[in-house]
Subunit: 232 residues, 2 copies
DNA sequence: CAAATCAATTGATATATGTCAACCGGTCGG
DNA sequence: CCGACCGGTTGACATATATCAATTGATTTG
């Protein structure tokens, strides 16, 4: 693993405060690999042998049932995924596939569990990370149960806008078909939902979104920090 | 706090393996209180001052947005709730109300955070508990995104049947209006959904459910451990 | 006991969302 | 350059789900 990557990973909240020895020991068992786009990295139901870290590229977490499929989340650099399965030594609940050419670090789960017991700073970081993940999905659940698809899209756009710096125009950061799946709707419906937001000053050209009337859109979307603010 | 309760709480996974001193110290700052039914214990958005433990009775976790409300989960004895908010020292994402006369233990959040740093067994237990909570809600999210309301009801009945011992007849453990909210539908729709399951051998009398054709119902519901098995 | 509630149900209807088929407009490879 | 392909869009339609109003049945309360 190049030194620059090593240092990047070290800087992650999860690893930043652990003892040098322990981090080195974790990394010794780890390996890094490049994957092309659309490769299924893990499959739900399999045992969780590795904690994964997206070093570059991006990864889609999705689930299937009875022939249907839904996107649960997108993981971008640099962050980990399937921490909970690793900790519990339980089967993955979601599958993961690369969205683009990606570089992934793999740390054997048993090493993570071992060092967890030996390094209290690492343990604390894991707890914080897990609590964060838990709260994120509670928010997603509220979004899904309390809002219509049009409201979900409106709030998604406002979040994305903020994430992109707050300007009136910004880019969607992924394919519309995946956005539809993340928002819990069909691609056709997403198309109509974009039209449904035109009266509130939203215009779309390809992946470029422009919010022409911020106040109107916010009045409609009614964003709420307890659903839409990912930092808390 | 009566000695019997003290010992019950001590037996919780979260506290079972921590040092005596630390447990005693946690309990010293705690207090226990009886609440009547329908009392709002916490309100979403408020700071998380206490970790709550349901000693007896039951508690509904719910959320609201824009005049709508949805049930997220039901907490039954003996278990804790809002662990994640306590750990992160962040605002509650859900409100909680008693469903019936209930006895609740309250442990100051700052004590939990302090002892977390001092007791690695406690830290480990918290991680396990959080990972469990996380995985539970991932399953709920999959249930909601991948299944129709009829399928959710069918699988709920199968889970409840198993929970009740596996016999063909069993009782719903809460009001139908709350069940509807938990399953993400309206009470009217739940009523119709029960009728919709009659062809698969489900009969309902009040809160009593009878599954007359187990194989038929399972063929329709297609239960999946990665969604319906709460133990993993 | 009778009146008043309230959860549950039912029917009629409206709205939201999904499905299917067709089409459009790029991109890519021969 | 052309044609195949693919993501996105559109329209017509089907289905799922919510809403509203009315009724039932059980429970509570004066």
């Amino acid at each position: 693993m190049p030194d620059s990557e090593y240092r990047e990973i070290r800087k992650l909240d999860l690893f930043a405060h652990m003892a040098d020895d322990n981090f080195t020991s974790l990394m010794r068992g780890a390996y890094v690999q490049n994957f092309p786009a659309q490769i299924e990295l893990i499959t739900e139901g399999e045992p969780s042998d590795f904690l994964h870290i997206v070093v570059s590229g991006s990864v889609d977490l999705f689930s299937t049932w009875n022939g249907r499929e839904t996107s649960m989340a997108t993981v971008r650099p640099i962050s980990t995924f399937i921490l909970a399965a690793t900790i519990k030594d339980a089967p993955y609940l979601m599958s993961a596939r690369t969205l683009e050419k990606s570089r992934i670090a793999l740390i054997p789960s048993q090493d993570v569990r071992a060092i967890f017991g030996a390094d209290s700073n690492f343990a604390r970081a894991i707890v914080t990370e897990l609590a964060q993940c838990y709260r994120s999905i509670i928010k997603a659940q509220k979004d899904l149960k309390l809002r219509t698809s049009l409201e979900r899209l409106a709030n998604y756009l406002l979040r994305q806008q903020r994430h992109a710096g707050g300007g009136a125009a910004f880019e969607l950061d992924f394919e519309k078909r995946r956005l539809a799946s993340v928002l819990g709707m069909t691609p056709e419906n997403l198309s109509r939902a974009f039209k449904g937001l035109q009266p509130y000053g939203v215009s779309v050209t390809g992946t470029r979104i422009s919010i022409d009337n911020q106040a109107d859109l916010e009045r409609f979307a009614k964003p709420n920090p307890l659903i839409d603010d990912f930092s808390t």
